[in-house]
Amino acid sequence: MIAVIDVFITVLAAYFGIGVLFGIYFFLAGARRIDPLIEDSKWTVRLLLLPGAIATWIFLLPKLFKNKKQ
C-alpha cells in the first residue's frame, strides 16, 4: 500500500508542481496566447484564473502549442 501511496503523492506533487510553473507563465503571457479576449481584460482576471491554470494546465498546453503554430 505504501508503494501505491508513494506513487500517487509523487504524481500529485509533480502535477501541481508543473501546474504552478505553467500558472506563472499563464499569468505573464500564456493567457493572451490561449485566448486573445483576455488582452482587453484587467490583470485581476488573470489572477483569478491562476488556480484554474494550475489545475488544468494539461488541457491548456496542447491549445497553447496549437495557437503558437498558427
Partner: protein, 343 residues
Amino acid sequence: MGLNYQTVLWNKHKKVYDKLIVAFMLIYIILFAGLTFAFNGETTIETLIIRAFGTLAVIMLHIILAIGPLSRLNTRFLPLLYNRRHLGVSMFLAAAVHGVFSIIQFHTLGNVNPIYSVFTSNLDYNSLANFPFQVLGFLALIILFFMAATSHDFWLKNLSPKTWKRLHMMVYLAYALIILHVFLGAFQQETSPFTIGFLSIGFVVIAVLHLAAGFKERRTDIAKAEKDEVNWLYVCTVDEIEENRAKIFTVGKERVAVFKYEGKLSAIHNVCKHQGGPLGEGKIVDGCITCPWHGYQYLPGNGQSPPPFTEKVATYELKLAADKIYLNPEAFPEGTEVQPVNC
C-alpha cells in the same frame, strides 16, 4: 455575454444572492459555535472550526445538488440555478477551511509531510469500519478545487464546453466521497446519531429529486408525437404555451423549444451553445430568448445571438392548423432565418 472577461460577473440580482450566501454562512457559523459552547464547553477552537466549516460545506453541497433537479421540476427555482456558480465556490472555500484546519490539527505535529501523513497515518485500507476516512475527504477536496478553480467563463470557452461539463459532473464523485468521509468519520469518532441521521435524510432527498426530475424529462422524451399527412409533428395547442415562454418538445433524440411571443411562434434547438443550458426553460427578454443558466441570448426568428455575438443554434419550421402547432422535424442549419408563425 461579453466581449472581454470580467473578474466577477455581478449584476443587481447576483449581488443580492451573494449577500444572502455570505449571511447564511456567517449565521450558520455563529449558531454552530453558540450551540457547541452551550452543550459542549470543552470543545477547542480548532475542533469547532473543523466541524463548523465541514458541516457547512456538506449542507451547501446538498443545496447545490438540489438546485438542478428542483429547477427542472419547477421553473420558480431557476433564479437559484442562475446563481449556483458563486454558491459552489463558497462551498469549496468552506470545505477548504475544514480540510486545511484538519490537516494542521491532525497531520502537522510529526516530522512527516502533512499530505503524506493524511494517506499514511492510518493504513487500515482493508477495513471498512476503520478505513482512513480522511483520505476520502482529501480526494473530494481536490475535485472541488478543480471545479471552483474553473468556475469562470474563460474556462468554459477554453477547456471546451464538453470537457468543462465533464469536469463539473465530477461533483457527484466528490459527493459520494464526502458521504463516505462523513459516514466513516462519524462511525469512528463519535456516537451521535444526528450526523448519520441528517446525512441519510440529505442523501435520500437528493436521490429522490434527481429521480423525479429524470422521470419528468423521460416522459417528455418518450412521448410519441402525432403526425399529420406530411409527417410534421403535433406539439401542442397555442394556449398550452405561456406568453414569452416555451414548450420543450423532443424530436428523435433532440429537444426543441417552441416559443410564443408577441402573437408569434418560433422554434429553435433547446441547447444553449454556451454551456448546454436548456433554452426552453428560459424566457424571452427584450425580444431575445434568454438562457436560464447564464443569460446567453438568441433571436427567436433565426437562432442567432444578437450582434456582435456569434453563437447560433438550429431553427425549425412551424405551422398552425386551427390552434394546433405542428413542427417540421427536419432542422435547418444553425442560424437559418425562419418566418415566425402568427398565432
